[in-house]
Amino acid sequence: MQKDFHYYATYCAAYLAGYTHNECMDICYSAQLVDHCSATLLRKIKGPVEAATTQLQLELMDIRTDIAGLQDITRIWASFHFLPFDLYAERKWAPKMYLKKYRLICNTNSDLLVETVKLAKDKGTQAAGIAMHVLADTWAHRYFAGTPSFVINNTNYYFYEIIPDGDGFTERPVKFIHNPSAPDDHENGIYVNSLHQNSETSVMNLGHGRAGHLPDYSYARYRYLPAWGDYEEIVKDNPSDYMNAFCQMIYALKYLHGEEPSFEKNRYDTEAVEPWREKIKVILEKRQTDACEDWKKLAEEMSGNEIEDFDIGKYQSEYTDSGDRDSTYLGRFIAAAIAQKSMVTYHIYKSGSKLAGVSITKKSRKGGSDK
């Protein structure tokens, strides 16, 4: 997903969940910041690099794909963008190494999602924003894994876009090109994806790189053969998935706000969204690679307040100039990011996989355990 959903749509979901305008701004800012908080940014503000929630293309180009490098990549991408669905999944005849990667495939409504949302409870708007980013991405990034893997994430020539045509749909093969500076051409079905690299751990095979940005576009409907699927086809319907993501965000945010007693899987707040459903549907189905303007207009119509554009430098001086960094906006964001990363890494490690590194559990002074 992109800024249109992580920032503006998250604002809308938070508003419908009962948060005030300022709280909504904090939540959506945090949700969008997940896509910007790289090691480069953290070094710039002299923050802890282990709180990185994303990696820039330049960082990925530079990173070594040795064990430590791969663990670093997996920790970040599996924790914040490709939350694993089932860390104990079984597959007949699958070798151990393959199985460990297969278990990292992202999907919606996982046990880890419940943990993610519960972890954000009573931790402030920054933690709520991070949880909403993770939740939303489970819908967009489902069927891909947050670790570089050719055998899991590769796609091939069998990739068709399904386009609404009158009352029905037509199909056309997607043409993928590898020019990173070229924009996606949704009119002609030409999209940019990562290079085909048959090296298992090439960063080109990270997440949905081989499917380009198609999973990130709300209008996209497509069918393809995932490398892990044993020739079974996946039909992805983003408008429907994104609507589910929106309804689930409202439900999760209501839980975080205290209006719902618990957060359970497969529950969506369809009531709150009802008055806006048609307008949201129009935005989700509109063939555009950036829906920020439409979502912004809707958010402003909902709350009656002006929504300022995302500014990456908004809280940086507050953090760098503060004597008590932990209590600043970025300080709380960093704490929530580290907690989320630790939680996911711990569960991956507990499942018997060291793909995200080793998680150390130690007794805390309060009697509980820290991961």
């Binding site: 597959r91 495939i105 489902r142 020739y231 086809e233 497969n266």
Partner: protein, 177 residues
């Protein structure tokens, strides 16, 4: 939602098998096209750089000057060009069927023909290796490599043929269902 396996929309076993064989056709089709191009290039370069590895000493001794070389090249072109065309045609048809575009059963016969040529070549090289064909005895490594390449090509063509046939069988079953 079934625990353990992410949701997949389609569960039709026959369709899945057809997809698998189509993918095999696409891959082997690309491979055979590449093999055809490589074989042609190898023959041309072989003739230009070291004709003695491909021709009998009687012929190589009688080649003199550019005209002689050209005559041999033209003679080989008459063999290489149709053979290359055959490889490319088979590869193209297999790829097309693999992509689900066009289906042409005639090329299956050509696959069998090409596979037979490669099997014949393996036998031919083997005869050279054991000394039945004396002029090739000097290049044992070359013969072994040729045999390996021919065996690979024969297996690839066999897989291609089997995939094309299986697609037809499963499609028939699918229509029957």
């Amino acid at each position: 939602m079934k625990k353990g396996v992410p949701v997949i929309e389609e569960k039709n076993e026959i369709t899945r098998k057809i997809r698998r064989y189509r993918n095999t056709l696409y891959i082997t089709g690309s491979g055979i096209s590449a093999l055809g191009l490589w074989s042609a290039l190898r023959l041309v370069l072989g003739l230009m750089i070291s004709p003695q590895t491909l021709l009998t000493p009687e012929i190589t001794e009688n080649i003199s000057g550019i005209v002689g070389v050209l005559v041999v090249l033209v003679a080989f072109a008459l063999v290489i060009a149709p053979l290359l065309g055959l490889y490319l045609f088979v590869g193209k048809k297999a790829r097309e069927e693999g992509l689900g575009k066009k289906k042409n059963s005639f090329y299956i016969a050509l696959i069998v023909l090409l596979a037979s040529l490669h099997i014949f070549s393996i036998i031919y090289c083997f005869m050279g290796l054991i000394g039945i064909i004396p002029f090739m005895q000097d290049s044992i490594i070359g013969l072994i490599v040729s045999m390996i390449v021919d065996a690979t090509a024969a297996v690839t063509l066999g897989e291609m043929c089997m995939s094309a046939v299986m697609i037809r069988i499963y499609e028939k079953k699918n229509t029957g269902n």
